[in-house]
Amino acid sequence: MEKKQLVEAALFMTPRPLKEEDLSRITRIGSLGTIRELLAELEKEYAERGIRVMKTGEGWEMQVAPQLLPSVARLAPYSNLSEGCKRTLALVVYNEPMPQADLIKVQGNKAYAYVKKLAKMGLIRAEKVGRTKNLHLTSEFEAYFGEQKDNIKQQLEEQYAKKKARDDKREAKRRAKEQAADGTPVTAPDVLG
């Protein structure tokens, strides 16, 4: 009985899916057979509950029953990140270690508040380098997204490259059209005008 509770507690606590071997190590239950039996029991016991014990490609985890997710998703701790914070986070992913000064150049002074908020949440940390600060991602960041930061970075880069390609194409089309219309190159409008 105690053993099953231990497996249950581990699944509840972990921020990422656990393999049967991980569970064996954590619970000190040597036999993988026993682990599998306990998992099967738990899966069954939770089948009709609001939370589920389920196996995904990465291992075993506890999740909200899928049909209930929309109702409770906003309770998740980081879903309330503002757009600004998300951008700060994206920039740090791209450029880690990112000098805070560069971030401020890009996002303006409000970025100080984003950095503070993200640091408080434990997603990034600032490291003093001489008189300036460098921003790094934390292990909590990885735990939260459930992936290595390099993977997240790669995904972002791919998404970005696709978006840029689309934008470039659209821009090229627009220019071609404009040039065809009056034959003169377009100049930027006077800012003061």
Binding site: A76, Y78, V106
Partner: protein, 232 residues
């Protein structure tokens, strides 16, 4: 403002208005065009130094600090609105190329904000182990504080045996000075042989004994300023 000026200000017992005036003068600011950032920063520096040295910080000072910071933040916000067009905004930024100087080529790129999945993040309760670590850390801080005070005290060694000798010596010196000057009061600064920390302490502590024994009477009109000593 350097450390010496800061210390001078702390021991001056100035009001907050006087301190702000001093900061403005020292930093060479134009009173009609104040650098709020600098002013609030220096004032905060002043407060934190007071705090480090264990001086009581008047509540008024804290209010002033809060007002200054508020003004500073309002000001920054205002600036942001003012030059919003010139601030390189996120939309102009190519995340793969941090060359910020060269982003005026007409292309507008969006950084994909990270989308946060609705994922749970367990925060566990505290265990006894956590309390042990916390207790150790707080005790260590406390130990450090005590050692620091002890080290400071050690720097000025007062030999208990000659305390009495020094009390009588000081009393004679005060009496002689008062007689010689044909005056009612003598200033503390005149009875300290050489104005340094050691001598100040070595004169001040027997003076307190004399005051306690009701042999002299001391008065001080302003904190950290001159002490006037009278025989009783």
């Amino acid at each position: 403002m350097d450390e010496k000026e800061l210390m001078g200000m702390i021991t001056s017992g100035y009001s907050w208005e006087q301190i702000l005036n001093q900061v403005i003068a020292w930093e060479g600011m134009d009173p009609w065009d104040l650098d709020l950032k600098k002013l609030s920063e220096t004032f905060m520096k002043y407060l934190s130094r007071m705090d480090e040295l264990d001086f009581a910080i008047p509540a008024k000072y804290i209010i002033i600090a809060a007002v200054l910071l508020r003004m500073k933040s309002d000001h920054l916000h205002f600036l942001e609105i003012l030059d919003g067009q010139e601030t390189p905004e996120i939309a102009d930024f190519d995340p793969l190329d941090m060359d910020l100087e060269d982003n005026g080529n007409g292309h507008k790129f969006e950084v994909n904000p990270i989308t946060s999945p609705p994922k749970r993040f367990a925060r566990r309760r505290v265990m006894i182990d956590d309390l042990v670590l916390a207790l150790r850390r707080v005790m260590k801080t406390q130990e450090k504080r005590v050692t620091r005070h002890k080290r400071l005290a050690d720097k000025i060694k007062i030999n208990q045996e000659d305390v009495n000798k020094r009390i009588t010596g000081l009393y004679q010196r005060i009496s002689a000075l008062l007689k010689g000057m044909k005056d009612e009061e003598v200033e503390f600064s005149k009875i300290v042989p050489k104005w340094n920390r050691e001598n100040i302490v070595k004169t001040f502590s027997p003076l307190m004994y004399l005051e306690n024994q009701k042999k002299v009477e001391c008065r001080q009109e302003e904190m950290f300023k001159e002490i006037f000593i009278k025989r009783k």
